[in-house]
Amino acid sequence: MIASHVTTQMTTGKPAETHHRKRRIKWGTVARHAVLILLCLWVLLPLAWVVLLSFKSKYDGARRYIWPENFIDPIFANYQYILSQPRAVGPVGAVTTNSITVTLLTVFFGTIAAVLGGYALVHLRTPGKVILTSFLVASMFFPTQVTALTGIFQIQQRLGFINTTWALMFPYVALQIAICVFIMRGVFQTVPQDLVDSAKVDGASSLRTLAGIIFPLVKNGIVVVVIVLFVFAWGEYLLALTLMNDASKRTLAVFVANSTGGVGALDWPRTAALYILAILPALVTFAIAQRWYMKGLQEGALKG
């Protein structure tokens, strides 16, 4: 449906065929880029719509048409409102802090666990490798987050972790640990065993080997793990909703998803501003890390 609108734009925009070697137009290449540009527009247009909404006035925000009659004045007024009216908007500051805390903890512990675990599964003589590996694989096919939700609740309750935001880290890491270990395993497999062995012959302890010799070789793969954990923890909904019942203990993603009802003063343009603020951190992180992330993916992170 978006695509149909896109086609009309396509005829005027020139597909990126500028890098042609020959003069003769290669229709195959044109078609290839045309399809790719369509896919990119499919990805980008919905987000562009939200950005546009966040600059609309209340009046235009409630109406069907896309381009507003007037933008809100000043143009950042909706963003300003979100940041300056804590009583009407709710505990944005608290839930943002919560999200940052739980995300950092999840990334930190999850990455350490995945790196050490992946290393042990590839480069160390680990008894029970097969059993361990098959348990991890099996867990990826089990709907833990749904089926074991009651169990997770009980365990967190016994530990006094209901309404303790940072403790969301435990189930978060656990739910992602299998995939992260496999990403790291794939990456470690690209490191020759000989290299590890020769370091050992030189007398380096295995931890020293990991830190000094292997680490530089797998750091792109680690970026992949970091991003996987970051995106998961920043955006998890079900557990953050179920295990935290204090509104101020919830995470930003839950807060935004639950405050989009346009109740009271929080109309759609203001909600859109809140929305944009909530998705920015992950996008910025990605923008910074994408170079290593892409390399990491190519270096075997996807082989797991």
């Binding site: 449906m1 978006i2 149909s4 609108h5 990126a16 890098h19 290839r32 399809v35 790719l36 896919l39 990119c40 990805v43 247009l45 919905p46 719509w49 939200v50 069907r64 896309i66 512990f109 666990a113 050490l116 675990g117 290393y119 042990a120 590839v122 160390l124 003589r125 680990t126 590996t133 348990f135 867990s139 990826m140 096919f141 089990f142 749904v146 089926t147 939700l149 009651t150 169990g151 997770i152 609740f153 365990i155 189930p171 890491v173 656990a174 640990i177 299998a178 395993r185 065993q193 295995s206 909904y237 993603a253 839950v254 998803a257 929305y275 998705i279 992950a282 990605f286 993916l297 996807l302």
Partner: protein, 318 residues
């Protein structure tokens, strides 16, 4: 995997020690590295699974402040007799069947196209753009598409009704209200979300195809089309099969999408077994945690049976 399991090369010094000694030594040197993984995996993956299994044999109600009683298979018996449960499984299956093909073939096509882009910079730009949705917090993806599909302020129906004039307000498609259309609407959103990430899988697969293979074929005069069916698709088949199994698992267990986009409306096509489980465990009355755990386990068992079956048919064709 083969590489990981192969015996490690020559270390003759240890050969003289007895076998148990070596195992113990290996254990001591390797397991410290696995402690963090095991801590999280056992504590918050295995234990909750076991805990919910135990719960499913009890009449535990969260709010009644009574010690739960062991009631054997009663919860399972009740659930199997409930139309709601089977309806929930059926709804999840329909969604899964609609969701999987698009989740596999759209990214595959995107990957084949990106792979053929000769300019590296342009190819990178495509990759980055396609990956953007996978960086957005999941619940916010769903909120975004609730907006997109909305009949009043949503841009999709604005184009269909006000711009293209294909519909009027009275018969415009209600993307999230029509009990059939909603499967496609949610699947379409999931495709949007997973496009970039899955494209990366296929790109990794394509990168492993030796470059001289297509070139040789081209010299032989094979067209793009025949090359795709002759070479590429076979190289990508393992990825397709793995993704099918993995995505089957995630599609059957979808829940956040449904909570955010529809809520707990038993009439809705999105009231699947996962929603039924959550409704019983955390919303209804005294919160029947025991019964809910049984629903969760029945759903999981159903899924595992299908996964095992998928593995079986995919294996036999190798």
């Amino acid at each position: 995997m083969a590489q990981a399991l192969s015996p490690e090369p020559h270390s003759s010094a240890r050969q003289s020690r007895p076998g148990w000694w070596r195992t113990a030594r290996d254990f001591i040197t390797s397991y410290p590295y696995l402690i963090p993984v095991l801590f999280f995996f056992v504590g918050w993956q295995l234990l909750p699974i076991v805990q919910s299994l135990r719960l499913s044999f009890t009449d535990d109600r969260f709010l009644d402040n009574q010690a739960p009683n062991w009631i054997g298979l009663d919860n399972y018996r009740t659930a199997i007799q409930q139309g709601l449960f089977w309806q929930g499984i059926k709804r999840a299956l329909i969604f899964t069947a609609i969701f999987i093909p698009g989740m596999i073939f759209i990214p595959m096509i995107a990957a084949i196209l990106v792979d053929r882009v000769t300019n590296n910079k342009v190819a990178t730009v495509y990759r980055i753009i396609l990956l953007i949705p996978s960086m957005i917090p999941a619940p916010l993806i769903f909120v975004l598409w609730v907006w997109m599909y909305d009949n009043y302020i949503g841009p999709i129906n604005y184009f269909l009704v006000d711009r293209l004039g294909w519909f009027d307000l009275a018969n415009a498609p209600l993307w999230l209200e029509n009990n059939i259309l909603i499967y496609f609407s949610i699947a379409f959103m999931e495709w949007w979300w997973g496009l970039g990430y899955h494209t990366m899988f296929f790109l990794a697969g394509l990168a492993s195809i030796p470059r001289d293979l297509p070139d040789a074929a081209r010299v032989d005069g094979a067209g793009e089309w025949r090359m795709f069916w002759g070479i590429t698709i076979w190289r990508l088949l393992p990825i397709i099969l793995v993704l099918t199994v993995v995505r089957f698992g995630s599609a059957m267990a979808v829940i956040t999408e449904y909570i955010i986009m529809q809520g707990f409306d038993r009439n809705s096509s999105t009231y699947t077994w996962t929603m039924y489980m959550y409704d019983e465990a955390f919303r209804t009355g005294q919160q029947f945690r025991g019964y809910a755990a049984a629903i969760g386990w029945l759903g999981a068992l159903f899924m595992l049976v299908v996964v095992a079956f998928l593995f079986y048919i995919f294996r036999s064709r190798d």
